[in-house]
Symmetry: C2
Subunit: 351 residues, 2 copies
């Protein structure tokens, strides 16, 4: 079937409407024929369905591919994803997003698209702002947001991006009847009193015992307990520290302290238990509920705090999500905003 490149589209002759659109939902029917995107046209050319002409010459597949690659940014990336989805049996249409994908058994005209697919190269950092804009656009029309990331060898990994519901079972895990002394040593805080240590560790899963009598707290735990009047922190010279001086020193020890602290506080207030996620390379691993340190359940989330101007380096994101999923946890990114923390769940999906 004949087709011709016109600007950045390909126009196929009139009978294409019947043979390609009505059977496979390729292109958009127009009065002059069937209008195809360069990506749709490349796929149809590869399958031998159309012969594309340019300036009067019929192009072979490499010839068309090279021209399309110069006309359309990220042409190869998008072609690779389009071809993959088509070959898995999905009907795919170009949209405001890269692609709209119809659920199996459905097609344009029969039902609505289920997914918005965004194509990215692993090499190009992805600004959080872009991700949020896409997520909000998809959520507004109740579509599933899918990121298709193409690596340097053209393998595709699909991720679903969504907002999680975080619900904890810790209820009120603060202990207003405790008020105990603690010392800020070099970069951690120690509670010296045995009863307070035991109560905080056993009931709230705060800190880690230094030994049977004493409890070590992390900086975020310390500030949270300090703000809630549970501990009085002194420095090594035995001077009482206020919240401000504590925060100053903690921020020197840990440049991301304030970022982490706002997420820690929000998670505790949601009734879940955040503990360090160091072993997983994230800020926190999060338990929905810990009844006792003697029987610690599976932690459900890994949470990493990022500022609103964050740029995802995709190999790093890929590693974080893969690691989280390999230990049956969800990978959440937590973004402090003016009106609270925005959590985003990124997980691998099979299409």
């Amino acid at each position: 079937m004949k087709a011709e490149i016109i600007n950045d589209r390909v126009l196929a002759e009139k009978k294409a409407v019947n043979e390609l659109y009505n059977t496979g939902y390729y292109g958009r029917p127009k009065s002059k024929g069937l209008e195809l995107t360069l990506i749709e046209a490349a796929y149809l050319a590869y399958r031998g369905k159309i012969d594309v002409e340019h300036n009067g010459n019929v192009l072979d597949f490499p010839g068309f591919f090279k021209i399309a690659s110069t006309l359309h940014p990220s042409f190869e990336l998008k072609y690779i994803v389009y071809k993959d989805l088509r070959e898995r049996g999905f009907y795919v249409q170009p949209g405001v997003t890269d692609f709209r994908v119809y659920p199996r058994g459905s097609h344009p005209g029969k039902g609505a698209a289920k997914q918005f697919v965004y194509v990215r190269s692993e090499r190009v950092p992805m600004p959080l702002k872009d991700l949020l804009r896409s997520l909000n656009a998809a959520e507004n029309v109740r579509k599933q947001m899918i990121l298709a990331i193409v690596d340097e060898e053209s393998d595709i990994t699909f991720y679903e991006v969504k907002r999680p519901r975080i619900k904890g079972g810790m209820g009120d895990s603060l202990y207003p009847d405790i008020n105990t002394e603690a010392t800020f040593l070099e970069d951690r805080v120690i509670i010296w009193d045995e009863d307070a240590s035991t109560a905080l560790f056993e009931n709230g899963f705060y800190g880690k015992p230094l030994d049977k009598q004493r409890l070590q707290l992390s900086l975020v735990e310390s500030r949270y307990l300090m703000e809630n009047g549970v501990i009085n922190v002194r420095n090594r010279q035995d001077n009482v520290m206020d919240s401000e001086s504590f925060t100053d020193i903690a921020s020197k020890i840990e440049p991301e302290f304030l970022l982490k602290n706002s997420v820690y506080t929000d998670l505790r207030e949601k009734g879940v238990v955040p503990k360090t996620g160091f072993k997983f390379g994230s800020h926190f691993r999060v338990y929905a509920q810990v009844e006792s340190p003697a029987k610690i359940p599976h932690s459900e989330y890994l949470v990493h705090s990022i500022p609103s101007d964050h740029e995802f380096r995709l190999p790093v994101m890929s590693r974080a999500v893969r690691l989280a999923n390999s230990v049956r946890k969800s990978m959440l990114y937590a973004v402090p905003e003016d009106d609270g923390i925005d959590y985003i769940d990124i997980g691998r999906v099979k299409m």
Copy 2:
């Protein structure tokens, strides 16, 4: 038993030599008594073996701990690791490195220390230069190098650092009888000839098929095959590209191109097969041998290229190693040096 802080040491009375050194190998016997480090003394104080005096006052445990923390940098970190090792039944001695650890069943005077243990805080970036200096020091005296990383909640993760032997089975996996045309599109290279595509993919596991006729190559694969005269690369305007112009463009697409390229070349020359490690967040996953893409074996290594002035952020390193180990691979870091690539294997160990 009485002991006294003198400068940054603790001197225990004479009978300590018999009661603490001869039974537990604490401290170093001196004519005046038993000299202990602050860390050894804190552990003995915690266990109620010594009462430490300072300026004539007997200190309780918190009192001694606070003073020791001001006298010795990273005192708490090191105390936590020392206590952990002692409680696992190891004899531990302070050394040029943080600790020398004796194998189970052995002790000072009976045999040699087996491990050098270096203690680090997760929060403090670790310069590669420091790591290499420590590794070389340990290797020179045939000790195992152990990194003990203490997280913000005082949990310890132990890593063994060593140099791997990388040996591949691909022999000569280049095909001097192939010489084929390829096009550098936007950010990847395509070979259009079916026979060449099939041979390179099937025999050398180069690239990924775009379809049955054509092969996509990554930038490092392309440059390697170009340098070896296997492919002639043209740009989209059909002009032949030389190695220099290819490298220039590839480095713009991928700022780490040259770093990755030198490691890719070295790995291929060692007879192994490096493929992208994107899904694992590393530069390469590496197969010892791939006889055919139809039966791809387990890949043995993840390899990440780092420059010689690299600083490890330890949560990132932790994630990389954990992910690699969870899929039964070794995590290798590859450092291009003047005389070749220095590979370092970092893996979690249980003590």
